[in-house]
C-alpha cells in the first residue's frame, strides 16, 4: 500500500501553520513533506488579541497554504486523503478563521475534513519525532499545562494547571519587562535567564540570585497566577530601585539589587521545578521511564535539562523536539488527523465547527492498540 498524504492547518493561537505529511499505515513510517509557519508577533509589552490574530491568519492563509503545497511537491491536491484542521482548544476567532478556509479547500478539492484536538496533535508529533513509544507526556504551552499518560485508547490527564498555563505566566512576565515577543517571549526570557550567570560585562561568571517566589504545587496540579503576581511585584520593586539609583540615592542597607536577568532566572527555576515534580510523580505512578515534553515551552533548554536530570535519576530519559515541532505547526494536526482518518474517522461537514474548550481525554485514540 502506498503512503497516505494529509494537509494540516493550525491556527489556534498566534501561529498559522500549514503542512503536508505522509503516513504509511503498513510500515507506520511518517514523512514530513512541508512545514510552513507564519507567526503574528505583537509589539513588546502587549499580547496577541483574538481579533488581530484572526485577521493575521486570514491575511496569510493563501500564501502559507500555497507555499506548503509547493514545497511538498505533490502533483495535485487530489493526492491528499484529507484536510485536517484544529477543532480546539484555542482562541475562538483564530480557530474559526482557519476552519472556514479548511472547509473551502475540502469542498474545492473534494476531500474529507478531519477536526483535530490540538493537544493530541502535539503528542502524536512528539512520539513520531522522538521515537518515544509510550511516554508520560508533559504538554506545556501558552494555553495549556498538562501531565498526560496513555491508557486504553485515551490520553489521560494526571495533572494540570488550576489557573493560567505556564507559558502564559512566562509570556505575561515578558510583557511586564516589556521585552520583545520576537521570535517568541519565552525564548527572550530564557536568554535573559542565561545572562544571570554572568556579570553585566557578559564574560565574568557570577552566581545567579534566586529571589523569593511562591511554589504552588497542589497534589498533581499546579497554579501559576499567584507566581506571576509575585514576580510582577518584584519587577515593580526593581523599577523603584532604578528610579532611586537614577536620582543619585542609594538602596537601603541590606536591600538586594533586583535585575531582569535574576528575575527571569528565578521565574524559570521556580515554575520548571513545579513541572518536574508533578511529572516525576506521574512517572512513578504509571511506572514509565520515558518523559516526552511537547508544546512551545518544551523547547526551553533549561526545562529539558531539569527534566533530563530527574529522568536520569529514575534510570530513564527525556524526549524533546526543537522549535520546528514543539511550537504549534500544521503537520502535527495533519499527522493526528491522518491517523484518525485511517481508522475511519471523518468530521461531517455540517459539524466542522471549532470549540475553545476541548479536553485531551475527550478523544478516542482508536489508532493505538497498546
Amino acid at each position: 500500500m502506498a503512503p497516505l498524504y494529509a494537509l494540516g492547518c493550525e491556527g489556534s493561537a498566534n501561529k498559522l501553520g500549514i503542512g503536508v505529511i505522509s503516513h504509511d499505515p503498513e510500515t507506520n513510517k511518517t514523512k514530513i513533506l512541508s512545514n510552513i509557519r507564519h507567526t503574528f508577533v505583537s509589539p513588546p509589552g502587549t499580547g496577541f488579541l483574538p481579533k488581530d490574530t484572526a485577521a493575521h491568519h486570514r491575511a496569510h492563509f493563501v500564501s502559507v497554504a500555497r507555499e506548503a503545497l509547493k514545497v511538498a511537491g505533490l502533483a495535485s491536491p487530489k493526492d491528499l486523503s484529507c484536510i485536517c484542521y484544529t477543532r480546539g482548544p484555542g482562541m475562538g476567532a483564530p480557530l474559526t478563521s482557519v476552519a472556514v478556509a479548511a472547509r473551502t479547500l475540502s469542498l474545492l478539492w473534494g476531500l474529507d475534513l478531519v477536526g483535530v484536538n490540538h493537544c493530541v496533535g502535539h503528542i502524536e508529533m512528539g512520539r513520531v519525532i522522538t521515537g518515544a513509544d509510550n511516554p508520560v507526556v508533559l504538554y506545556v504551552s501558552g494555553g495549556n499545562t498538562q501531565v498526560i499518560a496513555y491508557a486504553e485508547q485515551r490520553y489521560r490527564i494526571f495533572g494540570e494547571t488550576l489557573d493560567i498555563a505556564v507559558g502564559n505566566c512566562i509570556d505575561r512576565f515578558a510583557r511586564t519587562l516589556a521585552i520583545p515577543n520576537d521570535p517568541f517571549p519565552g525564548y527572550n526570557v530564557e536568554q535573559l535567564a542565561k545572562k544571570a550567570f554572568f556579570e553585566p560585562d557578559g564574560t565574568t561568571k557570577r552566581e545567579p540570585v534566586l529571589l523569593d517566589l511562591p511554589y504552588a504545587v497542589k497534589g498533581m496540579d499546579c497554579s501559576f497566577s499567584g507566581i506571576l503576581g509575585a514576580a510582577d511585584l518584584l519587577a515593580a520593586q526593581m523599577r523603584k530601585q532604578d528610579a532611586l539609583l537614577a536620582s543619585g540615592a542609594t538602596l537601603k542597607e541590606g536591600e538586594e539589587r533586583i535585575t531582569p536577568e535574576d528575575l527571569c532566572f528565578t521565574l524559570q527555576e521556580t515554575v520548571f521545578a513545579m513541572l518536574v515534580e508533578i511529572t516525576e510523580r506521574a512517572m512513578a505512578h504509571v511506572g514509565s521511564k520515558q518523559v516526552l515534553v511537547v508544546g512551545g515551552v518544551g523547547c526551553n533548554e533549561r526545562l529539558q535539562e531539569m527534566m533530563g536530570l530527574m529522568a536520569r535519576d529514575r534510570g530513564g530519559s527525556v524526549y524533546a523536539t526543537d522549535e520546528r515541532f514543539c511550537i504549534d505547526n500544521g503537520i502535527m494536526i495533519g499527522l493526528a488527523g491522518l491517523l484518525a482518518w485511517e481508522t475511519g474517522f471523518r468530521t461531517p461537514f455540517e459539524d466542522s465547527t471549532c470549540t475553545q474548550r476541548f479536553r485531551t481525554d475527550e478523544v478516542h485514540i482508536k489508532w493505538r492498540t497498546d
Binding site: R58, F61, V62, A75, P77, S97, V100, T353, C354
Partner: protein, 111 residues
C-alpha cells in the same frame, strides 16, 4: 404572525447578493460559511443560492448568486455581524481564486 414578530424584534435588515462565476463556487461559499452559528442571539441570518420565493423572475443565473440576509436588533449588532461575514467571505473567495484545483493545475502546467 411569526414573520411580524421577526420584523418587530429584528428591525435592522441588510441583504447582500454575491455573484459568483459558477453555481459550484456559489454553493462552496454557502456551505463553508453557514457551518458556524451566529454567536449573538441578537442577530438572525439566512444564506441561500436560490432566490427568495417571492422573486418571480427566476433564471438559471440566480444559482450563481449567494443571497445573504442579516437581521439584527440594533444597527450596531447588524454592523458587527455583517463585518464579520465580509471578512470570512473575503477569505473564501481568496482561497477559491488561488487554491482551486484548476488554478493549481494550470500553474503546474505553465511552469
Amino acid at each position: 404572525m411569526a414573520a411580524a414578530m421577526e420584523t418587530d424584534q429584528f428591525p435592522c435588515v441588510l441583504t447582500v447578493q454575491v455573484p459568483f462565476p459558477t453555481a459550484r463556487l456559489a454553493s462552496v461559499a454557502l456551505q463553508s460559511l453557514q457551518v458556524d452559528k451566529e454567536l449573538s442571539p441578537l442577530v438572525r441570518r439566512t444564506f441561500s443560492t436560490s432566490p427568495p420565493a417571492r422573486d418571480a423572475n427566476t433564471t438559471a443565473d440566480q444559482d450563481k448568486t449567494l443571497h445573504v440576509e442579516y437581521r439584527a436588533t440594533t444597527n450596531r449588532m447588524l454592523r458587527v455581524a455583517v463585518n464579520s461575514f465580509m471578512e470570512s467571505l473575503n477569505l473564501v473567495i481568496e482561497v477559491m481564486e488561488h487554491l482551486d484545483a484548476d488554478v493549481l493545475a494550470a500553474e503546474a502546467h505553465s511552469t
